[in-house]
C-alpha cells in the first residue's frame, strides 16, 4: 500500500540528478591523469608493528617501496612543511607521525601512478617502531603513572574537566525522598557513511585547489594552512554533495594528506580515497562514555536533584572532544525541570581511535542514562513513565538543567501528549499479551532533545550570496555542505518562496570557498537555520533592489506599488511588468548580487557555571522529541526485533514535511543501529570490527516502517519558523528500546549496544526474578 503522506509536487532539488546517477561526488570528478596517494599505517598491517597503538618511529625503510614500478614518492614526517599539526580546536594531530598514538596513525604517504602500484608500494614499506607503554582505559589514563599521550599537554591525559552546577545537588539528593542510581556505558560508534573519505587536489599557480568530501570547506583551509605552512587564503576547497557525513567528515580527514601529496606531485593532480577498512581504522568515531548517575525526586514525581559523573574516551587526539563533552553535559539532565544539578565531566586521551563529531554529539550518550533513570524512578514511584515525563517536561518559561531559560519555541509537552494518544502506547498492554511462542514483547518511550548551533564563544554565522543571472533566474551560493540533509534544496525552496519565483528559476552553487562566503561547518543542526536566515535576508535585499531598479524603468515612484512575480516585476495597479530577463541585461554583475549574513542568537545572561568551557556553553535553541518503540525479544536467541517505531518531533515550523520526515527516520535508523546492531569491538587499541561484515549497520530487513509525526510550533528566530532537526532523532532509540526491553524482560539494560548476548542473559535473569506474568508463552 502506498503511504498517504504528503506527496510534494516539487521533489528535492538534488533528488532527480541523484536518482539519474548523474550527480558527481568528490571522487567522481578526479581527473584521469591523477597520481594515487595512500597513507601507510603500520599499526594496521601484518608485521612487527601490527597493533602498536603507541610507539616511537625509529625509521621507515622506503627503499623497497621506491623500487616498486609506478611508485613516485614516499614521504615521511620530515617531509611535512609547516607545523605538521592539524586539529579543529587543538592542533595536536600530526599529518605524518614521528610518534604513533593509535593503531591507525599514519607514518608515511605514498604517491604512485596507479592503484595497484600504490597498493604494492604500501605493502613494501617497513617501519621500525619502538613500542611505548599504552593506555586504553580512560579512567586508567587518569591515574598518576599512566603513559602520557601528549607530554607537552598541561593536563596530562586529561583533555578537559568541567562542571555544570545549579543549586546544591549533593544536599538535595541526600534529602530527596526517592533516589535512583545507575551506571551506564555507551560504545564507540562508527559513522559508516556509504561514501568513504576521499578527494583530489592539485597545486595550481594560484594555490592549492582541492575537491573533497567535507563538511567544513572553509575551515579546512585553515587546518591545511596551519599544518602545511600554506596561506589559507590561497587554498580553494570545493565541496560537492557528500555521500553522507554525520560528523565524520567535519575536520580534516584526507585534506592535509592530500595537500601534502599535491605539494610533492610536480603539479600533477593527486587523488586519495580511503577504502572501507581505512575509513574504519583512521576515521573519527563517536566517543565511548561511562556515566554514573543519581536522580532524586519527591514522592509525587517532581524532580529535585541530579548528580552525574561522565568519563569520555576521546582517543589519541582532541578533535572536538571538549565540545562533545560540553554539549553532552548540557543535556545530561534531560529535557526536564530539575532545580539542583551537578554534572561533572572528564574528557580523556587514550591510545584508542580518535573520537570526534557524530550526529547527536554527546547527547546520544547521555540520553539512555537520564531516560533510564526516569523509568526507574517511575517504577519506584509506581507512576506511569509517560506521566512522570509530562509532569517534569520543559516548557516555555522554564529553566533547563544548565540554568538557561527556555525562551524559544518549545513543544516537548505536545510531543508527549501525541505519544500518549498514539496507538503504540495506548494499545501496549494488549499487544504485549499477544506475544507469539518464545517471544517477549515490550513497549518503551523516550523523551529527548538536542541543542542547535555552536553555543557561545564563537560566531555561529552564515553568509548567503544570491545572484540574479544574466537570464533573469537566480543562483543561491550555498556555503554549507549538503551531506544528504537536504539543506541545499531547502535553500532553493526558501529562495523561491521569498522571491515568489518558480522553483525551476532557482539554481544552486555548491560550496566553493572561492565563490561562496564562509558560513561555518555543516553540523550542529545549524545549516538550514543559520544559512536559511542569511538567505532570507539576502532575498529581502534582492527583492527590494529589484523593485527599486524596476521602479526606474517603469516610472513608478512608490515601491509598494510593485511586486515580484515569477519572472518579472509587476506594477500591481496597471499590470505592467518588466521581465527579470530584461532587467538582468541592464544591471551590472555587481548589482545583480546580494550578500547578507545571519548570526544564531545566543543565550543572554548565561548562568554562572560551565566556566571550564571556552566554547559551547550554553546553547539556546533546542529541538525536542518523544519516541515510541515496540520490540519483540526472541527468548531462545536474545535477538531483538523493532516491530514498530514512532518519532514525534518538535522542530518548530515544518517548512518541508518530506525533508522533516527524512531526518526523523534517518536519525532513528542510526539510533536503532547504535542501540542494537553496532557493536564496535576494540581490544588493546586494535579494532576487531574492521569492515562492514563485522561492524553491522541495519539493513532493510532490520528496521520497521519508522513513523514520523510533527508537534509543530514556530521558532521566531528561525527562517520561516523552523529549528534544526537533524540530530535529535538519533538520541531517541537507545532509551526507547532500553525501556521497551525493560518492559519485556523485567530487567534494565544499561550497557549499549543491547546485543543478543546481553539480551539473552537478561532474559534468563528476568525469568529468575519475580513471577509477574508478562504474557506470551514462556519457554
Amino acid at each position: 500500500m502506498i503511504p498517504s503522506g504528503p506527496h510534494i509536487p516539487q521533489p528535492r532539488a538534488d533528488a532527480l540528478a541523484k536518482a539519474l546517477g548523474a550527480e558527481r561526488y568528490a571522487l567522481d570528478t578526479a581527473p584521469a591523469d591523477c597520481l594515487w596517494a595512500g597513507a601507510y599505517r603500520p599499526g594496521a598491517v601484518p608485521g612487527p608493528s601490527f597493533g602498536v597503538a603507541h610507539g616511537r618511529v625509529r625509521s621507515v625503510d622506503v627503499s623497497a617501496a621506491l623500487a616498486v614500478p609506478g611508485v613516485v614518492r614516499v614521504l615521511t614526517a620530515v617531509d611535512v612543511p609547516g607545523t605538521n599539526r592539524q586539529g579543529i580546536v587543538h592542533k595536536d594531530q600530526p599529518v605524518l607521525c614521528d610518534v604513533v598514538r593509535h593503531a591507525g596513525d599514519p607514518v608515511a604517504l605514498v604517491l604512485a601512478e596507479s592503484a595497484s602500484a600504490l597498493r604494492l608500494g604500501l605493502a613494501a614499506l617497513r617501519a621500525d617502531i619502538e613500542p611505548l607503554p599504552a593506555v586504553f582505559d580512560p579512567e586508567l589514563a587518569l591515574k598518576k603513572n599512566a603513559p602520557l599521550l601528549h607530554p607537552q599537554h598541561k593536563g596530562g591525559n586529561l583533555l578537559l574537566r568541567a562542571v555544570i552546577a545549579k543549586g546544591d545537588a549533593r544536599s538535595a539528593l541526600k534529602s530527596a525522598p526517592v533516589v535512583v542510581r545507575g551506571a551506564f556505558s555507551t560504545p564507540v560508534q562508527e559513522h559508516a557513511f556509504l561514501e568513504p573519505q576521499c578527494g583530489w587536489a592539485q597545486m595550481l599557480p594560484g594555490g592549492l585547489h582541492m575537491t573533497v568530501s567535507t563538511q567544513s570547506p572553509f575551515r579546512d583551509r585553515f587546518e591545511i594552512g596551519h599544518a602545511l605552512g600554506l596561506n589559507p587564503f590561497s587554498i580553494r576547497i570545493v565541496a560537492p554533495y557528500l555521500g553522507g557525513g554525520f560528523g565524520g567528515k567535519d575536520g580534516s580527514t584526507v585534506q592535509c594528506l592530500l595537500g601534502l601529496a599535491a605539494l610533492n606531485s610536480d603539479g600533477r593532480p593527486v587523488r586519495m580515497a580511503w577504502d572501507r577498512e581505512e575509513s574504519i581504522l583512521a576515521g573519527y568515531k563517536r566517543h565511548a562514555v561511562r556515566l554514573r548517575y543519581a536522580l532524586g525526586a519527591e514522592r509525587d514525581g517532581t524532580l529535585v536533584a541530579l548528580s552525574c559523573r561522565l568519563v569520555f574516551d576521546t582517543g589519541a587526539y582532541a578533535h572536538l572532544g571538549g565540545e562533545v563533552m560540553e554539549l553532552s553535559m548540557e543535556h545530561a539532565g534531560g529535557p526536564y525541570r530539575i532545580p539542583h544539578v551537578r554534572v561533572e565531566g572528564r574528557c580523556v586521551y587514550t591510545n584508542n581511535p580518535v573520537a570526534g563529531a557524530f550526529r547527536g554529539f554527546g547527547v546520544a550518550q547521555v540520553s539512555p542514562a537520564f531516560e533510564g533513570l526516569m523509568d526507574e524512578l517511575a517504577a519506584a514511584l509506581g507512576m506511569d513513565p509517560l506521566a512522570l515525563r509530562r509532569k517534569n517536561a520543559l516548557g516555555p518559561g522554564d529553566v533547563n538543567t544548565s540554568g538557561v531559560a527556555v525562551t524559544s519555541s518549545s513543544h516537548l509537552p505536545e510531543c508527549l501528549d501525541l505519544a500518549a494518544a498514539h496507538p503504540l502506547w495506548t494499545g501496549r498492554d494488549e499487544w504485549r499479551k499477544a506475544a507469539p511462542p518464545f517471544t517477549l514483547r515490550g513497549v518503551g518511550l523516550a523523551a529527548v532533545f538536542n541543542g542547535m548551533g555552536y553555543g557561545r564563544g564563537l560566531a555561529d554565522m552564515a553568509i548567503a550570496k544570491l545572484e540574479m543571472t544574466e537570464t533573469g533566474g537566480f543562483l543561491v551560493y550555498n556555503a554549507v555542505a549538503d551531506m544528504g540533509q537536504g539543506n541545499a534544496s531547502a535553500f532553493a525552496l526558501l529562495a523561491a518562496q521569498e522571491l515568489n519565483q518558480e522553483q525551476a528559476a532557482i539554481g544552486l552553487v555548491q560550496p566553493d570557498t572561492e565563490r561562496c562566503h564562509p558560513s561555518g561547518s555543516s553540523s550542529a543542526g545549524r545549516t538550514t537555520y543559520t544559512f536559511g536566515n542569511a538567505l532570507v535576508r539576502a532575498c529581502a535585499a534582492m527583492r527590494r533592489k529589484l523593485l527599486a531598479r524596476a521602479a526606474m524603468a517603469l516610472l513608478v515612484d512608490d515601491l509598494d506599488a510593485l511586486e515580484l512575480i515569477p519572472g518579472a516585476v509587476r506594477h500591481k495597479a496597471t499590470g505592467k511588468a518588466l521581465p527579470l530577463a530584461v532587467m538582468a541585461r541592464f544591471l551590472t554583475r555587481d548589482d545583480r548580487v546580494c550578500v547578507a549574513e545571519a548570526l544564531m542568537p545566543v543565550a543572554q545572561n548565561p548562568p554562572a557555571t560551565g566556566k571550564d568551557f571556552v566554547i559551547g556553553f550554553p546553547h539556546l535553541l533546542f529541538a525536542y522529541a518523544a519516541h515510541l518503540a515496540r520490540v519483540e525479544v526472541d527468548e531462545l536467541t536474545g535477538r531483538v526485533r523493532v516491530c514498530d517505531y514512532a518519532a514525534i518531533t518538535d522542530g518548530g515550523r515544518v517548512l518541508n514535511r518530506q525533508g522533516f520526515d527524512q531526518q526523523a527516520q534517518g536519525g532513528a535508523a542510526q539510533g536503532i543501529g547504535y542501540a542494537l546492531f553496532e557493536d564496535f569491538r576494540l581490544s588493546a587499541g586494535v579494532i576487531k570490527t574492521r569492515d562492514l561484515s563485522t561492524y553491522l549497520i541495519p539493513t532493510a530487513l532490520d528496521l520497521p516502517d519508522i513513523e514520523s509525526l510533527a508537534a509543530e510550533g514556530f521558532e521566531e528566530t528561525g527562517p520561516h519558523g523552523l529549528k534544526g532537526v537533524g540530530e535529535v532523532g538519533m538520541n531517541g532509540p537507545a532509551p526507547a528500546i532500553a525501556a521497551a526491553l525493560s518492559d519485556a524482560l523485567g530487567v534494565r539494560l544499561r550497557d549499549l549496544p543491547f546485543t543478543p548476548e546481553r539480551v539473552l542473559a537478561a532474559v534468563k535473569s528476568g525469568r529468575n526474578k519475580s513471577g509477574r506474568n508478562k504474557g506470551g508463552k514462556r519457554a
Partner: protein, 201 residues
Amino acid sequence: MKLSFHLNGTPVALDTAPDRRALDVLREDLRALPGHGHTARGAGEADEGRAALDVKEGCGTGECGVCSILVDGEHKLACLMLAAQLEGRRVTTAAGLGAPGRPHAVQRAFAEMGAVQCGFCTPGMEIAAAALLARNPAPTRAEARRALSGNLCRCTGYVKIVDAVLAAAAMLRAERAAPCETYESGEACESGEAGAGEGGK
C-alpha cells in the same frame, strides 16, 4: 584481453586486464572511450568518456551494494566481478535504466517519494528495485525490503525507499495498462523492463 560488452544499451570495446575488477573497468577504464555526453554534469569536470560513474565503491567486499549493476538483467556486484566475466554481457547501471531525457519509473519514484538523501546508495538501490520489479510487478513492502536487503543506506532508514519501490511498481502497472495514452504519439512506450532492451530473469 580485448573486452567487449554492452553498457546501457550500446556496445563498448576496450583493452584491459582480464582480472581487473568490473568496478574499475566501469569507473576507470571506460573513461578512455569517447563519451556520449549525456551523463556529465557541470562545467570544468574531467572528461568521463563512457565511464559509469554512477556505480560507486563503498566497501569492495560485497557488503554494501553501492556497486550494484544488472548483468543480463540479474542484480550483481561489480566489486566482486572480474572484467572477463563481463565479456559479451548486457550491463545496465542506474543511469541506463531510463532513456536520455525520460527517467525510468524507478528514478521518478525515488526522486518524488523522498527516497534520496545523500544519494550515494541510490543508484544501487534502483538496480535492486529494477531487478525486483522485472520479476514481481506487485511486490509487498516485505518483498521490497527483502529485495533491498543487500543495499545499505545510512541516511533514510529505508522507509521512503520502500515507498518509492511500491510507487514505481504502481507507475509501471499503470503504464502497462494504458501505455499509448500516457505518451505522445510516436514515442516508444516504456516497458516494465530494466533498461532498453533488457529483459528480466
